[in-house]
């Protein structure tokens, strides 16, 4: 298992933007309206931009993005936290059968 919560240096800008979106309601609104402009503001690299555009938490995780940044971008900014449980959980219990 990789060191789960280590913030990889190459995602510094993405992490900074995700945190700012979590903390600042105005920025969150701006991100909804124009994500590219917010990504410009934080100077995201092409790799970071592609991950943010994907809106895919598994892809982000597998690339090494910090889980809390993923939580801020997907469960919070995308509103997953308000979805029915089966729509926001990624892990499905494997049945015994």
């Amino acid at each position: 298992m990789r060191e789960l919560f280590f913030p990889e240096l190459r995602f510094y800008r993405l992490h900074k933007m995700a945190r700012a979106i979590h903390l600042d309601a105005d920025l969150r609104k701006k991100f909804w309206e124009n994500p590219e402009a917010v990504m410009d503001e934080f100077g995201l690299t092409p790799e970071e931009r592609e991950l943010v555009r994907s809106k895919d938490p598994v892809k982000m995780f597998n690339a090494g993005v910090m889980p809390y940044a993923i939580f801020y971008l997907i469960w919070e900014a995308e509103g997953w936290i308000f979805l029915p449980p089966e729509k926001q959980t990624l892990y499905k219990e494997v049945s015994a059968s």
Binding site: M1, R19, Y68, L90
Partner: protein, 270 residues
């Protein structure tokens, strides 16, 4: 003379205050958690607690990667813990906080300090409910890093708790002090395992607390805590280090869709 009168521990998931109505079952589970948190406040009021030291771990919200502390005491006068539209104002016990800082440094714990900080859900979620019923309680926020790697080891967290106890007992003022650990239990936020809850691991932890064997939790490895989604137990371990091996009580355990919700109390310790 200051004395320790109890340790309390609970989950701090933001949903506890955000209260998303994602299913009837979940709404009922949150209600149980909230009611247990308010009963913790009641216990504190009955014990005339003046000051609550809260071990909580930032999640890259209060602090960022420009400067990330492992342990940090808030010694400023007041702060507020916020999550979205919910806010909890806290008044610090600055006299005791400053004593703790100096005393812990003398004991070999090189704790950082802050005089101005904005707190987030690790403090807001439980305190929003606990402080409703706790009476007039001052709060000393104590960040112990469990969420941004590398992190404080479980053993060191327990030793920190023991050192906090010594520091409180050496304080030359009249205080009844309780401690609180926030986080857990099993959950995997922001990962492909979101939705998994290691109930068996949670039950093992609960058993240790109920049987008054909290010191054994200090031997858990960081790896085991990560694998079972219990990395935030570090804050509980610190709180248990303060009271020592006194049998505790579990007020609620609910396996929700994304977390094992738990609220626990060790009323003894003094």
């Amino acid at each position: 003379m200051a004395k320790i009168v109890g340790a309390y521990m609970s989950s701090h998931a933001p949903q506890i205050i955000l209260q998303p109505r994602v299913s009837d079952e979940y709404v009922a589970q949150l209600a149980k958690v909230q009611s247990a948190l308010m009963s913790i406040g009641e216990r504190m009021r009955k014990k005339n607690v003046n000051t609550l030291i809260v071990f909580g771990s930032d999640h890259m919200e209060t602090f960022f990667l420009d400067n990330y502390p492992q342990m940090l005491l808030f010694i400023g006068e007041a702060s507020s813990a916020k999550f979205v539209d919910k806010e909890v104002a806290i008044q610090n016990d600055t006299e005791l906080a400053l004593h703790l800082l100096y005393n812990l440094l003398d004991q070999g714990f090189d704790v950082c300090f802050s005089q101005e900080m904005r707190l987030d859900h690790p403090f807001a979620s439980p305190l929003y409910w606990v402080l409703k019923t706790a009476g007039n309680v001052r709060v000393i926020p104590f960040h112990v890093n469990s969420n941004v790697s590398p992190r404080v080891s479980p053993k060191r967290c327990y030793q920190l708790g023991q050192a906090v106890r010594r520091a409180v007992e050496e304080f030359d003022g009249d205080r009844r002090v309780a401690v609180y650990g926030t986080g857990g239990l099993s959950h995997y936020p922001g990962t492909p395992l979101y939705g998994k809850v290691d109930v068996e691991a949670d039950q093992q932890i609960i058993r240790k607390i109920v049987e008054g064997r909290g010191s054994e939790l200090a031997n858990l490895t960081s790896r085991w805590l990560d694998e079972t989604g219990n990395f935030e137990l570090r804050t509980w371990i610190a709180a248990l280090g303060v009271v020592g091996d006194v049998p505790g009580e579990v007020l609620v355990y609910e396996r929700a869709y994304h977390i094992g919700y738990c609220v626990a109390a060790v009323d003894g310790g003094a």
